[in-house]
């Protein structure tokens, strides 16, 4: 168990630095789309939901996983589409200006 946990912590820590560097120095006008886009990425929880819902037999775990898949997919699909809509508006505004 410890090995897996430590590998996870390594990934977690390194990813924190990546995240910080990537997000750093973004112009304020892009903060909202960026937040929305990163929010869509946090819907990656869907992967976990799929694994939990994967069992063949019906039981509480599968039902919880089923609901989790729905919620996470709303987050993912809604998140990316909303971000795209915002960015579309962005472009039009820029053309006008």
């Amino acid at each position: 168990m410890a090995e897996g946990l430590i590998a996870g912590l390594v990934v977690f820590t390194l990813a924190s630095f990546v995240g910080f560097e990537v997000i750093n120095k973004v112009p304020p006008t892009l903060h909202t789309p960026l937040m929305s886009g990163s929010n869509a990425i946090s819907g990656i929880a869907v992967v976990g939901a799929l694994l939990v819902a994967g069992d063949r037999d019906w039981n509480i775990t599968v039902i919880l996983g089923f609901i989790a898949v729905i919620l996470a997919m709303v987050n993912v699909v809604g998140g990316f589409l909303v971000t795209d809509r915002m960015l579309q508006m962005f472009k039009k505004k820029e053309v006008k200006a």
Binding site: A45, V76, T83
Partner: protein, 249 residues
């Protein structure tokens, strides 16, 4: 987990990083969003190929329901209502993380396996952060959408009350670690997490809600990350808490 799937996750993570990076510049932002979406598609398809996933009909149904709901919401929402929309979506993501941890708890409950301590701790964290994100985001959504009044809600002894709730949570967590199969305690902890999300947002006025949503956004990243630890799935751990830094910027 098969090597192919692990490698697909690596590809997906790389696409997320490139996508986010491109999102940071006006000229490439739309492409960046698309790249991140492709990364998500890769991750989902790879997961469906996992041998643990057997229940295809139901899962595809759930994916279809979620996608259609998400698309409808994204197209119906007014441009001016975007901040609360992001908040709402964010809350759903937090809810998913909570449900994942609950599902895993139930699986362990019925399996008679002995539960390692780190497993219990990550489940508690996942439920806690996911629960706060869920109710906090829903409440922030309601305030911004003016479904409820935007003024801060306070009550006497609010702070001591909040602190005692947190203490109860800590004691409950400690107890659950010693007795990992205790359903009552687990459900109590889940309830407290949901309550904490409410308590966290009610004293904050409507004008400050965007900051709250930003902060909760980073929470949901952490929640997904914690769920990743529950399932020992690097795909969940990697991208999730980039968002952790969003709140502060």
């Amino acid at each position: 987990m098969p090597t192919g799937i692990q490698l697909s996750y690596l590809v997906a993570s790389a696409l997320f990083i490139v996508g986010l990076k491109k999102l940071g510049s006006p000229a490439t932002a739309r492409n960046g969003n698309l790249i991140a979406a492709i990364g998500m598609l890769v991750a989902i398809v790879a997961t469906l190929l996992d041998q643990q996933v057997l229940n295809y009909e139901m899962i595809l149904l759930a994916i279809a329901i979620g996608s259609v709901l998400g698309a409808i919401m994204a197209y119906k929402v007014e441009m001016t209502a975007m901040p609360q929309m992001v908040g709402l979506l964010n809350g759903l993501g937090g809810g998913a993380s909570t449900l994942i941890a609950m599902g895993e708890f139930w699986r362990l409950l019925n399996s008679n396996e002995s539960v390692p301590i780190d497993n219990t701790i990550t489940m508690i964290l996942s439920v806690l952060i996911g629960g706060i994100t869920l109710t906090g985001s829903l409440l922030a959504f309601a305030k911004l959408q003016e479904l409820i009044g935007g003024s801060p809600i306070t009550f006497p002894f609010q702070r001591p009350f909040n602190i005692s709730i947190v203490l109860v949570f800590l004691v409950g967590s400690a107890y659950l670690i010693t007795d990992p199969h205790n359903l009552t305690i687990f459900l109590t902890l889940t309830g407290i997490s949901l309550l904490l999300g409410v308590l966290f947002v009610i004293p904050i006025g409507g004008a400050d809600m965007p900051v709250v949503i930003s902060l909760l956004n980073s929470f949901s990243g952490l929640a997904a990350s914690a769920a990743g630890f529950v399932l020992m799935n690097n795909m969940l751990i990697i991208p999730a808490h980039w968002l952790a830094h969003r709140g502060s910027s």
